[in-house]
Amino acid sequence: MRTPLLVRLGRSFDARSWQLLGLFAAFALIAVPIMHLLLPPEHPLHLSTWFITLIGKILCYAIVAVAMDLIWGYGGILSLGHGLFFALGGYAFGMYLMRQIGRDGSYQSDLPDFMVFLDWQELPWFWVGSDSFVWAALLVLVVPALIAFVFGYFAFRSRIKGVYFSIITQALTYAAMLLFFRNETGFGGNNGFTDFKRILGYSITAPETRVVLFALSALALIGTLLLARTLVISKYGRILTAIRDAESRVMFIGYHPLWYKLFVWTLSAMLCALAGALYVPQVGIINPSEMSVANSIEIAIWVAVGGRGTLIGPVIGAFIVNLAKSWFTVSFPEYWLFFLGTLFIVATLYLPQGVVGLWFSLRARLRRGGDKGAPATRGVGA
């Protein structure tokens, strides 16, 4: 008999995980708004705008990390082009935000400023409808999904995998970056979109809007985690993991890996796009450098540091790396690349399961030590 969806969802996490998720939701949806809006700025528990923006940004990154983990940790596909989908989502939503500026831009025109600057007389065809929130939300999900589907279909059908696939995705995002850098492409060239004023008519810089966006990001992250969890413990998830470990065998058993891979690949791209759309109004800018090769590779290190093949790992990884980044770039800007470079090396050499794996093995060793009293002989993660 088929178990109802809600029950299955309920069983997908154990009690501890549900508690953690609930705690996180309570923090993001109740505590943060109170601490930001109601407490006076002098109060020690007051959360500054800077903090809200930073954490909101990292929440978006965490969604990207979970999306990356789905394809890399569970599907064995390392994409070095996920920045593309993130940026596409951001651009799709950015179009809407640009239209919301209305006549408040520097040129007081109906067209976005950069188009006036380029002396364009009317909106290009792909901007049609961008003043509608619903259409923008649709674009955010559909365009990256379509691109991911078409690209993935051809790549997986030709059974491109491993480093080849990684490099091709890298070329894809690089080509897209070059394309978006051109003014003629119609997305603001180098400068991208910025100077947003409103979202759904509300001021984008108002504290209330920020809190709502923050809460939405948190909800999106929780939703992503639930979805990912349901997915990976389902039969589909098992087959995906099997494909990761031994694609040929899975094929010989009679499964067609193409559709399994394609599904998770497209889903992952859509999650990234969603994160991008939530990211842009909070940060206030989107430009082609989001599609740079370096940005996409950085996503992989969030996942690697946190721990692949677990769902909490990528979230932790995204927080560790990005908090470190914002600390380093303020305090020791010249050491940030040293740190990041070392992180890449250390994470791959010594932390194959990430910090989550480290935590589990430490705990296991402690328990074993307590039970038997014998010292562990092997190094962690060796």
Binding site: S158, I160, G162, I168, L178, F344, I345, L349
Partner: protein, 537 residues
């Protein structure tokens, strides 16, 4: 302005040529005297008169005037030549040298007249190079009044190249002739040129000025049309040739960047994301060698590049071997993790360069022997630095081929590429082969970096720009052999450059990347896949 003065001057010259022939007398001092005049007009008149009366002897005087070394001592004009003082009229040295010669100054107007006069005079110089220069200058300002002069110059000219040039000038001058037959012949001669400027000259002949044809004779018009087409065809040829060459030079750089990558990927299945930074190491080695030469061997500065080649190779190879020993060795069988780890190394190396040498680009100068180029056609110049880089990459390729095919290490490398476990079983020390192959690949990247330092900016970020391109070469060419990398690099280089002519650089790059992405769908193993039966991992 200059053209006009040339004409005036040419007229005077012609008059002289026809009447006096080659006069050999010393210059009449009365002709020289006005040169010292305060008034520019009389100076100009004097220059013209002087050139007409005694061209051979006038040349040093006019040159001296142009160089500000013509001076006045009392009433006498002298040429100051370093320590010596020569009499302007007789060109004989004055002993003892007179005191306090007073230099004669000239303004810009006089200078222009002077240079035009000198150019025309130089057509009769005894030095080939001088005549060649003068012929080129004359070509573009020739008109009917210069015809007698050109006839005279042609009669005395023996050098084929200069003759061709003068004939062109002659034809051009004949365009203004009242005789339609002369114009017809001239238009046809001009059709043999491949100079875009000649095309510009001919175009007006085929056009109407108001209601009337600017060329009344229809046969001449038709001939002009034919000539224009002939020139355009030749120009298009030169354009394509130029593009093919820049494509070749881009291809050879891609090849240098990709060869090392192809080896390491072939042998170890490892994508080295720090490869671009190994190029950077090579480029900085060139800079370091330049600094060392500048400090200790300033006399041999022009040859620093020869020392930079082995130094760049060794420096990059050392970095490569260290990378392999410290990091990559421990990640065998995990290619995706290796990719990330090498990316970390690349970030690290970039920051090291930034810390050691600063975030700004450093300046690496071309040695003198790499400056300039060969002019193949009037609108096609092949720069020496590009030619040398193409030759250099051919040499590197040959060396690579020799190492891979003739040496024992090469045999091991090929064996490990084909089948690692089996190679290990028959006694190939696979670990050591990995280290050496990685060092070799890194060293070649270093060589590529030395080459790049001659044509591109050298800075901490330079490697990033090449990493995607060189991967594309490897992906397109397939791994495990040189032929794939060679064809892919050259093909990509030439294809990109021809596309750039059509679409501009950015679109060309996008098109190439999209093309490769599509190509890979068809041939996932690249152009030149190794044949054999492989069980996929």
């Amino acid at each position: 302005m200059r053209k006009k003065s040339m004409r005036k001057f040419a007229l005077l010259l012609c008059g002289w040529l026809l009447s006096a022939g080659w006069a050999q007398a010393a210059i009449d001092p009365s002709l020289l005297k006005p040169l010292a005049s305060e008034d520019s007009d009389s100076k100009i008149a004097a220059i013209a008169a002087l050139a007409q009366a005694a061209p051979e002897e006038a040349l040093p005087v006019l040159k001296a005037l142009a160089d500000n070394s013509l001076a006045l001592v009392g009433e006498r004009l002298v040429i100051v030549d370093g320590e010596r003082v020569l009499d302007a009229a007789s060109n004989a040295e004055i002993n003892p040298a007179p005191e306090a010669p007073e230099a004669i100054g000239i303004n810009n107007r006089v200078r222009r007249e002077l240079s035009a006069a000198l150019a025309a005079l130089r057509l009769f110089s005894s030095e080939r190079e001088v005549r060649w220069q003068a012929a080129q200058e004359v070509t573009l300002s020739a008109d009917a009044k210069m015809l007698p002069l050109l006839d005279k110059a042609l009669a005395g000219e023996t050098d084929a190249e200069i003759r061709a040039r003068l004939q062109l000038a002659h034809a051009q001058a004949s365009l203004g002739s009242p005789d339609a037959g002369v114009r017809h012949a001239a238009v046809r001669t001009l059709g043999e040129s491949s100079d875009p400027k000649v095309r510009q000259l001919l175009i007006p002949l085929t056009e109407k000025r108001g209601e009337v044809w600017s060329e009344p004779d229809s046969a001449v018009r038709a001939a002009a049309g034919t000539s224009i087409r002939a020139i355009e065809e030749r120009l298009a040829w030169a354009d394509n040739l130029g593009r093919a060459f820049t494509g070749l030079s881009l291809g050879s750089i891609l090849l240098l960047a990709a060869l090392g990558l192809a080896i390491t990927y072939g042998v170890m299945g490892v994508i080295n994301m720090a490869h671009g930074e190994l190029l950077m190491v090579g480029a900085y080695s060139a800079w370091a060698m330049q600094s060392v030469f500048r400090a200790y061997l300033p006399g041999a500065l022009d040859w620093y590049l020869l020392a930079a080649v082995p130094f760049g190779f060794l420096a990059a190879a050392l970095v490569g071997v260290l990378m392999e020993r410290i990091v990559i060795r421990h990640l065998y069988g995990r290619p995706l993790e290796t990719l990330l780890a090498t990316w970390g190394i690349s970030l690290f190396l970039m920051q090291v360069a930034r810390t050691l040498f600063g975030a700004q680009n450093v300046e690496v100068a071309n040695p003198v022997w790499m400056a300039g180029g060969i002019e193949v056609l009037p609108n096609l110049m092949l720069p020496w630095n590009r030619i040398i880089i193409v030759a250099f990459s051919i040499a590197v390729l040959a060396a690579m081929w020799a190492i891979l095919n003739l040496s024992r290490l090469g045999m091991f490398v090929r064996a490990v590429t084909q089948n690692r476990p089996m190679a290990g079983c028959v006694g190939v020390p696979t670990g050591r082969v990995d280290t050496l192959a990685f060092g070799l690949g890194a060293g070649i990247a270093g060589l590529g970096g030395v080459a790049l330092s001659q044509i591109a900016n050298v800075g901490p970020d330079m490697g990033q720009g090449y990493i995607v391109d060189s991967f594309m070469v490897v992906v397109l060419g397939g791994v495990g052999q040189l032929a794939g990398a060679v064809w892919a690099a050259l093909g990509l280089g030439v294809f990109t450059k021809f596309l750039e002519g059509w679409t501009g650089a950015v679109v060309a790059k996008i098109v190439v990347l999209v093309f490769i992405i599509i190509f890979i769908q068809k041939r996932p193993q690249g152009l030149f896949a190794l044949k054999g039966r492989f069980v996929e991992s």
